[in-house]
Symmetry: C2
Subunit: 401 residues, 2 copies
């Protein structure tokens, strides 16, 4: 047992297998010549780090996306050979030829998901099959590999088990996972990639709001657009994000935290990198939770989907996926019909909005009696958090890895 | 002189300078602490390769984008220190942290330009200041560094001089240059990059058409879109290209070589990665060369701009940058008013189109008496080629490096 760190001993999948210690560059030549359309997680290869990092203190001050775990998951793909055997190797810099399409033509997509530790110390993923489905669809949209969702998920599960000690056992904290697929052909032509690398890195993160809800002011952006029909707004691809950095900087200078993205005729679409929900009373006097429909311009968020399912199951108010505009939101604010507005995504779960800048006006949005978050926002946060951490089994949405 | 290869001896800028042989990773620590808003090409550092490659045969069979020269140009940037001293180092794989925004959020932009060898053996760039201007604007659009255009161009010129022996001395061949800027912050947050890498690689290339003009059939794409107002269609950024790979594959299956991108109301915009020109007789009986206007969705091509300037100088027909639609092209084809259609870009100069698929119809486009290219297409190709190779000084568009 002296060969294994506690993390490895905890990773049961290693117990009954010969331990493979393989040097990373050599693996490239281990091809069998056959075409693998599947990712064989059962054959995963592991090379443990010889220099484990000092773990940060797991508390609410953990920053997002800066501290990474000891290892990473890698799977290579080529048009000729399909997927390589997945491997877990020490976290390392990628060696990429300067000509690869991942660096020139935006041939890259990713997922964002979290692993949570429950009170019994078990590690849980939240609806990971939805992330794998979307990862598959994003790859397809960019002519990247036809992803084996099941093999990918099993490989990620094994990676998370190996890094179990990096999953914080603190409520509100989690291990953020970033599966990524990039085109790696060494060729400057604009063409579907013949080679790709799929990898997953992980970082322990604190809650989005370290000290409880802090509502944000958002700026409805009328010049720059996030997405358009016929584009990639419904895929999680790199090219959706960089164009938002400049508008984000400009909105920040005007005192807003996030950009509220508008579609045609100022339809409300998303906020920052989150889906957006408005809870209001319709002009007909009906209470309604509304969010933009999946018309090809909207990211099919896992949190978005879960909120819709929960709210529909509760059956206490109308739930709608349909087009609504800033003009309608503006009228509803003026008439006192807006109850709550919040963003929804894996990072924050839900993020309350207390103001929307639109056409040089600031629309004030209610945020509950304490001005921090409304009742529905809080209820959704609590319900989803209870499922994340295995305190509730209301929905069969939590997978123990 | 025994230390220097012929290429280096030819590169005069090295003659009067102490030769700096610096190992690449050490350079990172050479910061002075001061902020550099300029790229100091006059201080460029050079590390020559110890293993020069075998050069390919320079003829028309040279492929595009597969064979790279011995060296590359690199400049680092950080928000705190600005631009590093530029350096020319052996061509090498980039070591990138797997968390950098270049690989997740499409924080990447590039340029495409060519160096030509004239009959006197001098190396020429074509209107490189336009590429630098666009490179600057692409960086700005993605919250990348405020590029020093002059310092960048001088650095590229020094790089090209060093690689002079890689510039083919064959008409139709050239050294393709790929300046690139990528965000390199080691951070998963969606934020403006604090670190970036600017690099330039180069590859000798043959002509786009190895055996003279070969006209292409293009498919007008009505489902997928290339760009939209408020997006990045007028910048040369990675995210503009990956979304086109799937439509390109689909059009290829239908027997078309390229995608013809449409805008709102089926306005004709670009073809593949080129601007598009139609030469026709208007319904009013006027001969006109038309291309889509720079409304924010169109790439401001250097070849596009040069064709417009040449045609306006010639003054033989109307030249228009304005919106025109597939319906208008369709009507013009039916009425026999279309004279020629061609794509325009750095790779091909001009590429004749002999058919457009639209709404399950194939519109046949004339291509001159031999069916390969019309008279205007040929004239533009010859005029521009003569300027590229220094045979004509009609316009002051050629810079000797």
């Amino acid at each position: 047992m002296v060969l294994f760190s506690p993390a490895v001993r905890a990773a049961g999948f290693l117990r009954n297998k010969p331990f493979l210690k393989l040097r990373h560059p050599l693996l490239r030549s281990m091809s069998t010549g056959a075409f693998n359309s599947k990712i064989h997680a059962e054959n995963i290869q592991v090379e443990l780090t010889s220099t484990p990092k000092q773990k940060p203190v797991f508390d609410h001050s953990l920053p997002f996306g800066k501290v990474f775990t000891d290892h990473m998951l890698e799977i290579e793909w080529s048009k000729q050979e399909g997927f390589s055997t997945p491997r877990i190797v020490p976290y390392h810099k990628l060696q990429l030829d300067p000509s690869v399409p991942a660096l020139h033509y935006g041939v890259q997509c990713f997922e964002g998901m979290k692993a949570y530790k429950d009170a019994q110390g078990k590690v849980r993923l939240f609806r990971p099959e939805l992330n794998m489905k979307r990862f598959h669809d994003s790859c397809t949209r960019l002519a990247l590999p036809d992803l084996d969702e099941e093999g990918m998920l099993q490989s990620i599960a094994k990676f998370v088990r190996l890094e179990e000690a990096w999953v914080p056992d603190v409520d509100g904290c989690s291990l953020y996972l970033r599966p990524t697929c990039i085109g790696t052909t060494e060729y400057l032509g604009v063409a579907a990639p013949s080679h790709a690398l799929i990898y997953c890195i992980a970082c322990p993160v604190g809650p989005y709001f370290a000290d409880g809800f802090a509502p944000v002011k958002v700026l409805a952006e009328t010049t720059y657009k996030r997405a358009f029909k016929g584009g990639t707004g419904d895929s999680k691809v790199g090219g959706n994000y960089a164009p938002g950095l400049l508008p984000q900087q400009l909105s920040s200078k005007k005192g807003y935290s996030q950009v509220l993205w508008l579609g045609e005729d100022d339809a409300v679409t998303e906020v920052g990198a989150m889906n957006l929900f408005v809870f209001w009373t319709t002009p007909q006097g009906k209470k309604q939770l509304i969010t933009a429909p999946l018309d090809g311009t909207i990211l099919p968020g896992v949190t978005r989907n879960s909120i819709l399912e929960l709210a529909r199951k509760w059956g206490e108010f109308d739930v709608s996926e349909s087009v609504y505009t800033m003009q309608e939101v503006q009228a509803a604010v003026k008439e006192g019909r807006v109850i709550e507005v919040f963003g929804a995504g894996t990072a924050a779960v839900v993020a309350p909005v207390n103001g929307i800048g639109y056409m040089d006006q600031n629309l004030e949005i209610p945020c509950g009696p304490d001005g921090k978050a409304g009742a529905l926002t809080r209820r959704l946060f609590d319900t989803l958090s209870d499922i994340h951490y295995g305190r509730s089994h209301e929905a069969n949405w939590s997978m123990i890895v």
